[in-house]
């Protein structure tokens, strides 16, 4: 066909609503009312709940009351457990951030504002379920009872480091706590988690896996591989997209065009897909438990988009005031997960600010003690240090000739 006159095309480059100097603007974030989202039976087919990919599961209302069909029936004890773990995570993060500033370690990353994601999900899973996290789910380890000193030793690359100084700070691995080795290459864990779940199903095991990926990292191929494989083989896996609005300096629109949701990705694979208020401990818990129940019943994978906000910099190397409005974190419409769970405990009754203060003091004391314990084993650049001889171990199970030779040449 012949060419006709057309208007000139133009390249669209997405831009966030605000930059430094502008007021925060979350007007594009549509927030359905708490309690409004429907809750399908866990054995409903994916095709019968496509609407949920565009909805938002919220349980806690503005006053901290749990409302609607997703309000989980959980003991108050577990709520306190959740609050404790979130506070512990926040305290741990603060301490390690400071440690980096003090030169005790090369790097650190906080999860402030997103603690409900890791903590509520850890509590909704079984201890034996396998987690494939990113660098921002340290809360999984703390909620599962991993001693903070052990994590600090990794951050310090010291003599107590279970990873023998090999990994950058916060790239934990802890088989004992069902926590897969974190990769520096974002996204790779997402597809691996599906393989692990397939293996569990293959063996007739009853453990499931869960994986996390950041909003920005969904653009990697592994995200697509994970969903393809999970759908085709009905793998017992929970696939979580932690949409904290930012990927270093890039806003969400650079990953998803702002014309849809991350949860909607699941629709194209036939995987049930939910969107949840990621700062609502109860909603996160409920949705995760729902997905876990599906997986355990051999009904396959669920995709969960957790809508939250990265309240601080990407890492110790980052300064978010360079690229986003100064007060964005404060203006985030879904609030703070710790404050919201505390408010809920208060509405339940029998919970006072003093109880909260006690939990906070407990966390501070625990982290301080852990810090002492860990630092006694050295920090990066001072104190006791691992022997470099070990740097040639574990490349292969048995050391081949060339590494033996290189170890000799290194004189270690």
């Amino acid at each position: 066909m012949k060419r006709r006159n057309s208007q000139p095309l133009a390249l669209h480059i997405p831009q966030p609503l605000g930059r430094p100097g502008d007021p925060p603007d979350f007007s594009k974030l549509v927030l359905p009312a708490p309690g409004a989202a429907r809750r399908p039976e866990t054995d409903s087919p994916a095709a019968a709940m496509r609407d949920l990919a565009f909805d938002l599961v919220r349980v806690l209302d503005d006053k901290g009351k749990a409302v609607g069909p997703w309000a989980p029936k959980i003991d108050r004890e577990l709520l306190v457990e959740g609050l404790r773990a979130m506070l512990l995570t926040r305290t741990y993060d603060n301490r390690m951030f400071a440690a980096q500033r003090q030169g005790k370690t090369s790097f650190n990353m906080k999860s402030r504002g997103e603690e409900a994601v890791a903590v509520a999900q850890a509590l909704a899973l079984h201890a034996e379920d396998m987690c494939f996290p990113t660098y921002r789910q340290q809360g999984l380890l703390l909620a599962r009872g991993c001693p903070p000193a052990r994590m600090m030793c990794q951050v310090y690359s010291n003599t107590g480091d279970p990873l023998k100084g090999r990994q950058m700070p916060v790239f934990y691995s802890d088989r004992e706590y069902g926590f897969f080795s974190i990769s520096g290459n974002v996204g790779t864990q997402f597809s691996q988690a599906v393989g692990w779940a397939m293996a569990s199903a293959y063996k007739g095991d009853d453990r499931i896996s869960a994986a996390w990926i950041g909003d920005g990292s969904t653009a990697e191929g592994d995200f697509h591989y994970a969903l393809t494989l999970a759908a085709v083989y009905r793998a017992p896996v929970i696939l979580n997209v932690v949409n904290n609005q930012w990927a270093i300096s890039s806003f969400q629109g650079i990953a998803n065009s702002e014309q849809t949701t991350f949860a909607a990705r699941g629709l194209g694979y036939g995987v049930p897909s939910l969107r949840v208020d990621g700062n609502d401990f109860l909603a996160v818990y409920a949705v995760t438990a729902w997905a876990a129940q599906r997986a355990r019943a051999n009904l396959g994978a669920t995709l969960i988009e957790l809508v939250t906000y990265r309240a601080e910099g990407h890492s110790t190397s980052d300064d978010p005031s360079k690229y986003r409005p100064a007060d964005e974190a404060k203006a985030w419409p879904l609030g703070d997960p710790v404050a919201r769970l505390q408010a809920h405990l208060e509405t339940l009754g029998g919970w006072s600010p003093a109880d909260y203060d006690a939990l906070e003091a407990e966390a501070l004391a625990k982290i301080a003690a852990a810090g002492k314990e860990a630092e006694a084993m050295g920090v990066l650049g001072s104190g006791p240090r691992l022997s470099p001889a070990s740097m040639f171990d574990d490349v292969y199970k048995d050391m081949p000739w060339h590494l033996i030779r290189q170890r000799q040449q290194a004189g270690v």
């Binding site: 090999r166 990769s183 592994d222 591989y225 574990d394 060339h402």
Partner: protein, 337 residues
């Protein structure tokens, strides 16, 4: 002992392991019901059931990622990549993940996975059904790279690869699948049945990784080769009249350095043969190693006979392929050096 083609020998290796070890499973594009485009997994799904040998989506990256996850769980997955030319989408999972998992987790998690893939030219496959990417993998700490040259070796090495606790890239010279091709493409095709190394036990056996085989003893020059180039080198030795000692590396990395140095120290000359593009191919490492270990024994420059530094051209397949004429010429050249 039955005579097998390389395809049958590989199939037999997989058959033995599916039978012995419930943690071994196989997947890849078209490997299930159909049995693979080269028929290596023929009959295995039928014999062992759907979950032991099944089709995967066309996602090499995803297949290897799934294998890494399965390996971390405790299985021994075997992934087929339909052609080595299609392994690149899986490179991140191989380099950043499989190869480093044991190291970065200090042994908490391992990757006992095997990635099988047909490689090399000679079937008029053009640039995307002919490549030899083995050199890339030898640069990656943590990977083991294996290339068999006979049915007997193929079976024993594949069993060893699958039982190895670290990731193995197992490259199958596709031009040898059905016969011991020596590069004389105009000559009638030889069947494996006439070749002694086609005698292959139906039972389980292993050939240790990291050990080369001397397939021809000789005094004049050491030839380092693997895959189809072993047969090409044998033909070239006969053709040239040079008394070459031909070493079939079998495991490219970690390479059998003792076999190499012992031979070169004796012959004082070395020719390296591979089909991959020349620059920064595995031949470069072999040359560097020989030079480092045998400098004072060398009587002539080490020669590399390789594929040219171009994509594999469809029409000029045989001009590209380093056949016996080119190898023979190199043998003669080093004898003059």
């Amino acid at each position: 002992m039955p005579s097998m083609t390389m395809i049958q020998a590989l199939n037999s290796a997989l058959d033995n392991l599916l039978d012995r070890d419930p943690d071994v499973l196989i997947f890849g594009e078209d490997v299930g019901y159909f049995g693979g485009v080269f028929r290596v997994t023929d009959g295995l799904q039928k014999k062992y059931g759907l979950t032991r040998c099944f089709d995967g989506p066309i996602t090499e990256g995803g297949l290897v990622a799934a294998a890494v996850g399965m390996g971390a769980y405790g299985l021994r997955p075997v992934v087929e990549i339909q052609f080595a030319d299609y392994i690149y989408p899986a490179i991140d999972q191989l380099i950043s993940e499989a190869a480093r998992l044991r190291y970065r987790s200090a042994g908490q998690f391992i990757s006992p996975i095997t990635v099988r893939t047909p490689y090399g030219g000679g079937i008029f496959g053009g640039q995307t059904h002919s490549q030899s990417p083995e050199g890339l993998f030898t640069h990656v700490a943590g990977l083991t790279v294996v290339v068999p040259s006979t049915p007997y070796d193929a079976k024993g090495l594949l069993i060893a690869a699958i039982e190895d606790d670290d990731p193995v890239i197992f490259l199958e010279p596709k031009r040898l699948y059905n016969g011991p091709f020596d590069g004389r493409h105009d000559a009638p095709m030889q069947p494996w049945a006439k070749h002694p190394a086609s005698e292959t036990p139906s039972e389980y056996y292993k050939i240790p990784l990291g050990k080369a085989a001397t397939v021809r003893e000789g005094r004049d020059v050491t030839v380092l080769a693997y895959g189809a180039m072993v047969h090409v080198s044998l033909a070239a030795a006969e053709q040239s009249g040079v008394d070459a000692e031909i070493i079939d590396l079998r495991t490219l990395w970690p390479v059998d350095i003792d076999a190499i140095t012992e031979s070169v120290a004796r012959t004082g000359r070395c020719v390296i043969v591979h089909e991959a593009t020349r620059t920064s191919g595995f031949g470069a490492e072999l040359s560097a190693l020989v030079q480092e270990h045998c400098f004072y024994h060398l009587q002539a420059p080490i020669e590399r006979v390789t594929g040219w530094d171009t994509p594999y051209p469809h029409l000029f397949e045989w001009e590209y392929f380093p056949g016996p004429d080119r190898v023979a010429a190199a043998l003669k050249r080093v004898m003059e050096g």
